[in-house]
């Protein structure tokens, strides 16, 4: 079954590159660029994994992660955080809040793909698919 990935990131060109890479790897990708409405998008799309940027317009990715973890419906949803290199504080906060992994920008495509595949495999590939498509 195809894995559904939600990319919450506001930089258009990063989005396009990641979307391409994940699609080529056989994943279904949807992107969302607004921090304020990201949670609604999670409910609508019901992804298997979220790639979540820390610096988002309107709402920080860390706040979104906190909400995801405090809602029983999403508390176990795998989240990979995107942080900027050198922002060790963000990384530590993200891990403390229950992020499954983090990637520092600039990251390598293969490293990202490997991390995503590893987490999805651990959770049992695609078993949580469903919802609107």
């Amino acid at each position: 079954m195809t894995n559904r990935i939600l990319l919450v990131e506001d930089e258009a060109n990063i989005l396009e590159a990641i979307t391409f890479i994940l699609s080529r790897a056989g994943m279904e990708v949807r992107s969302h660029g607004n921090g304020a409405t990201a949670l609604e998008e999670v409910k609508r799309y019901a992804p298997d994994l979220i790639v979540l940027d820390v610096m988002l317009p309107n709402r920080s990715g860390l706040d979104i992660l906190r909400d995801l973890r405090s809602d029983p419906a999403t508390e176990a949803l795998p989240v990979v955080m995107l942080t900027a290199k050198g922002q060790a504080k963000d990384r530590d906060t993200a891990l403390g809040l229950g992020a499954d992994a983090y990637l520092t920008k600039p990251f390598s495509n293969s490293e990202m793909l490997e991390i995503l595949k590893h987490i999805l495999a651990e959770r049992g590939t695609g078993v949580k698919g469903g919802g609107a498509g």
Partner: protein
């Protein structure tokens, strides 16, 4: 942070009021002798609670009681009551307590008075050092603070990393997917181009931010040269009062300028303005400005006015009143070691305050050809072109058979795009190696942070 510095300082000075100081000296001397309050009180026939009030500065004492206490503590009464060296006493005390953990031997706290009495000069040095340490610590904290919490820097870094991330991922796709469909390939190429543009814009913005930070440092971080330069910048490098009244107007000009309470800055300003007044006397403004306008502000056609002094013409052009019809001139003066003595900045041509500029600048090459004026079209890596007039001349004659002291002067003016360069070829130069992107430059002496 600066605020904290002031508080620290005022603490030092504020405790110098006589009763508090006398009390604390009595307390220190007493504990140094191993006496309890009750013992000393009994010896001078007062109640321990009254002594406690004295020691905490709540009661002012003098006369017989002071003499009695001094005798009981085996010191001169003056060492307990003297207020003159109160700040010295406190500063020494603070220096000792601040550094105590790092010192091998315990400082003799009970002999501070003896130290300041016998060695007032050395005590003064220690006191000044203590003040300076406090001020420097405050400055380091403030710089650290600025670096860690600068919102502009944090935002710029985030944006730069975003662009780098996009470029890295996109380039990786282009390299690893040889069979990429045409439309995808075109799209990723366009994205790469877009991000590269953004990256260069953001990098330029960040450099400008650093430059502005350097310019807006508060006076505690400024050198005399920076303070005087700020005075010249604020005046547009033109001083009407000195043009009109000559050297007699200098004091008033300095008094009106900011930051001139610093002695070194004041002395330097005096030097520069005296030179300015001398230039103005040799080439009076009205006559020079009229002639300069007539010949299109071309130094070559003004040489006859300088009676052989080319640098004078260049300096006077840079000191013309800032008016719409007068072109913007930049100026740099260095000595034979290449050290920058004076600069008037011009947009697009960075003249570093510290460290050397680009060794290819005519400013420096003029030093090897004294008394030979040159004019060159200079191309900066940012694409801007400047006319550069330069000359090296003796500033002072040391005596027969001795080398003169030589200064080099370079005048800069932006070259309009439609100006024909004639047969002259342009000279590719840079803003100084550290920030110069030119590769393969034979004059390079240090790596660039841009490559």
């Amino acid at each position: 942070m600066v605020q904290r510095n002031i508080t620290e300082e005022s603490k030092l000075v504020g405790r110098s009021t006589a009763p508090a100081l006398t009390g604390s000296r009595i307390r220190q001397r007493r504990s140094a002798l191993g006496l309890r309050q009750a013992d000393l009180a009994k010896a001078v026939d007062i109640s321990p609670s009254y002594l406690n009030l004295i020691e905490h500065g709540r009661r002012r004492i003098g006369g017989k009681l002071l003499i009695d206490i001094a005798r009981a503590l085996s010191v001169e009464p003056a060492t307990l009551s003297s207020g003159a060296d109160a700040t010295v006493f406190d500063a020494l005390h603070k220096a000792a307590s601040d550094l105590r953990p790092a010192l091998g031997a315990e400082p003799e706290l009970d002999r501070i008075d003896e130290l300041s009495g016998r060695f007032p000069g050395w005590s003064g040095v220690l006191t000044q050092q203590q003040k300076r340490i406090i001020a420097l610590e405050a400055m380091i904290n403030s710089l650290q603070d600025r670096f860690a919490n600068d919102p502009v820097l944090a935002e710029a870094m985030h944006e730069i990393l975003s662009s780098v991330a996009a470029i890295r991922s996109t380039a990786d796709i282009l390299v690893r997917e040889p069979d990429l469909e045409m439309q995808w390939r075109a799209r990723f190429h366009r994205n790469l181009h877009e991000e590269a543009e953004r990256l260069s814009l953001r990098a330029t913005q960040m450099l400008r931010h650093f430059e502005q930070q350097g310019e807006s440092q508060d006076s505690s971080v400024s050198t005399a040269q920076e303070t005087v330069e700020a005075m010249f910048d604020a005046a547009g490098h033109h001083f009407p009062a000195i043009e009109l009244d000559g050297a007699t107007a200098i004091e008033a000009v300095i008094d009106r300028a900011a930051g001139m309470e610093d002695r070194a800055a004041r002395d330097l300003a005096l030097d520069w303005l005296r030179a300015y007044a001398e230039d103005a006397a040799r080439l009076p403004l009205a006559e020079f400005a009229a002639e300069a306008r007539k010949v299109g502000y071309d130094p070559a056609r003004l040489l006859h006015m300088g009676q052989g002094d080319v640098a004078l013409i260049l300096r006077r052009l840079a000191a013309l009143p800032p008016q719409p019809d007068v072109p913007e001139f930049g100026l740099a003066i260095c000595d034979a070691s290449g050290a920058l003595l004076f600069r008037k900045r011009i947009n697009g041509f960075s003249i570093p305050r510290f460290g050397a500029g680009c060794p290819i600048w005519p400013l420096y090459t003029a030093l090897s050809r004294p008394m030979t004026p040159s004019v060159t079209v200079l191309s900066m890596p940012n694409g801007l072109q400047f006319h550069g007039w330069a000359v090296a001349q003796p500033r002072a004659i040391m005596g027969f058979g001795q080398q003169p002291v030589v200064n080099a002067t370079m005048l800069l003016r932006l070259r309009a795009e439609d100006e024909s360069a004639g047969s002259k070829e342009d000279l590719p130069i840079g803003p100084g190696c550290h920030v110069c992107p030119r590769e393969g430059c034979t004059a390079r002496r240090a790596a660039s942070v841009l490559t």
